[in-house]
């Protein structure tokens, strides 16, 4: 993984690192279990402050993209990124469903009941599972 930083963009360096890791995960350049370079290596290669690298890695760990294993380094976490993208897709589907339901002028409670009924039905027919990822 090669990071590229833009010193003159005015965007904090740790944010640039975070964005690049996330982007690499989304494009598949980084996959589950891949190891990121050590903090020292990133700092020395890019001639940047090690604390800044630490900050980026911690933030990524907090967001569930990375797993920091003490003494052995930073690894891309299982299904990081992919899950977030799937959730965004699902959100879009639900949004358009709600738009199409609007003319029926259902109450919020009625909408919820319809959805839950359908969910129960699907579950009974095994059309939905536990999901591939863990929630």
């Amino acid at each position: 993984m090669i990071f590229r930083l833009n010193q003159s963009s005015g965007i904090p360096l740790y944010l640039q690192l975070i964005e690049q890791v996330k982007h690499a995960v989304e494009t598949g350049a980084l996959r589950e279990g891949d190891q990121l370079p050590t903090i020292r290596k990133v700092a020395v290669d890019l001639v940047m402050n090690p604390n800044t690298v630490v900050r980026a890695y911690r933030e990524l760990e907090h967001e569930g993209v990375l797993e920091l294993k003490h003494g052995s380094g930073a690894f891309i976490k299982e299904s990081a990124g992919g899950r977030a993208r799937v959730m965004r897709k699902a959100q879009a589907v639900v949004q358009s469903a709600l738009e199409r339901l609007a003319p029926l002028e259902l109450t919020e409670d009625e909408l919820r009941r319809v959805f839950e009924n359908e969910l129960a039905q699907a579950r009974a027919e095994k059309r939905v599972g536990n999901g591939a990822g863990k929630s």
């Binding site: 010193q7 963009s9 005015g10 904090p12 700092a43 020395v44 001639v47 940047m48 402050n49 090690p50």
Partner: protein, 302 residues
């Protein structure tokens, strides 16, 4: 455990009635690489000399490793010996004993420091490509910088104070020195306090900065936070420029060029944008800010 390796409070110092430091407040967090910025004559070297106990301040206080370095009591020199032993120092003038060779000055310096790191000494001797038999005056300025850095690092210092460490170095040598500083910070956790007016190099390796102007700290804090909070707003007016009677908190500098107001905001940007939008006929754009812009705005107005 002290959270701040260096801490000064309202430090004042003048030379022949000319004030050099006018109430300087400086806080350098443990483990940070702190870039100390200022124009020539802003008070950078005076600050460093005061921290080393080489100059006496007139008022205010300063502590290094929590040890007072300004109180001139009977135990002052004894305390300063301890403080200096824990600091690696690279001065601006890079003066070293002119009659010694590289090898000799290393051998001469070593016994003063019980925590001397022979491994680092050998490593940097090789890495910096320093000729052991050469006399110090015959070294180039870059070589002398590297030699001073070697001596400062090898003593096992907890704090490196570097006064213009890359001054006079060519770009390749500058890159070498910065890379080594970063490597040391990463592996040894050494706190570094370095003065510079090379904004680009500060932006590279510092995580904290302080800007000193006319003997006072005008901005200080985490560089990333500063970059996240500071923004430049460009307010374009359809007709004539109208400014509010007073701007909300966070507006640092406002400049007008034709129908455009350029605002440097240090925080509270959303509220400032809202205020600018409420002015008649405006379009507001926001841009990220570089360290250079922050620096220039703050020292320009003073």
């Amino acid at each position: 455990m002290t959270d701040f390796i260096i801490e000064t409070n309202q430090l004042c110092k003048s030379f022949k009635g000319q004030p050099a430091l006018r109430g300087l407040d400086l806080r350098v967090p443990a483990g940070s690489i702190f870039g100390f910025l200022g124009r020539n004559g802003a008070g950078k070297t005076t600050t460093i000399k005061t921290l080393m106990g080489l100059l006496r301040s007139e008022s205010g206080s300063a502590r290094v490793f929590g040890i007072p370095v300004t109180d001139a009591d009977g135990a002052f020199e004894k305390r300063m010996i301890e403080v200096r032993r824990r600091i690696g120092f690279v001065t601006e003038d890079k003066e070293l004993y002119p009659y010694m060779t590289v090898e000799q000055i290393i051998r001469f310096t070593r016994p003063f420091f019980p925590k001397w790191r022979g491994d680092l000494e050998q490593r940097y001797l090789k890495m910096f490509d320093l000729p052991p038999k050469k006399k110090i005056p015959d070294l180039s300025k870059g070589m002398r910088s590297k030699l001073m850095l070697l001596l400062a690092i090898s003593r096992g210092a907890e704090l490196l104070i570097l006064d213009e460490p890359t001054d006079g170095l060519d770009p390749a040598a500058t890159e070498d020195v910065l890379r080594e500083l970063v490597a040391i910070a990463a592996s040894e956790g050494t706190t570094m306090f370095f003065s510079s007016h090379q904004l680009a190099e500060v932006e590279l390796i510092a995580d904290h900065i302080g800007i000193i102007d006319l003997g006072k700290m005008v901005v200080a804090g985490s560089l990333d936070d500063m970059k996240a909070q500071y923004q430049r707003l460009q307010v374009v007016f359809a007709d004539s420029v109208q400014t509010p009677s007073h701007w909300v908190d966070g507006v640092e500098f406002v400049r007008q060029e034709g129908r455009v107001l350029s605002i440097l905001a240090s925080h509270n940007v959303d509220a400032i944008v809202e205020q600018a939008r409420s002015l008649p006929g405006t379009a507001v754009e926001r841009f990220p800010v570089t360290l250079k812009e922050i620096f220039l705005e703050h020292v320009r107005t003073n």
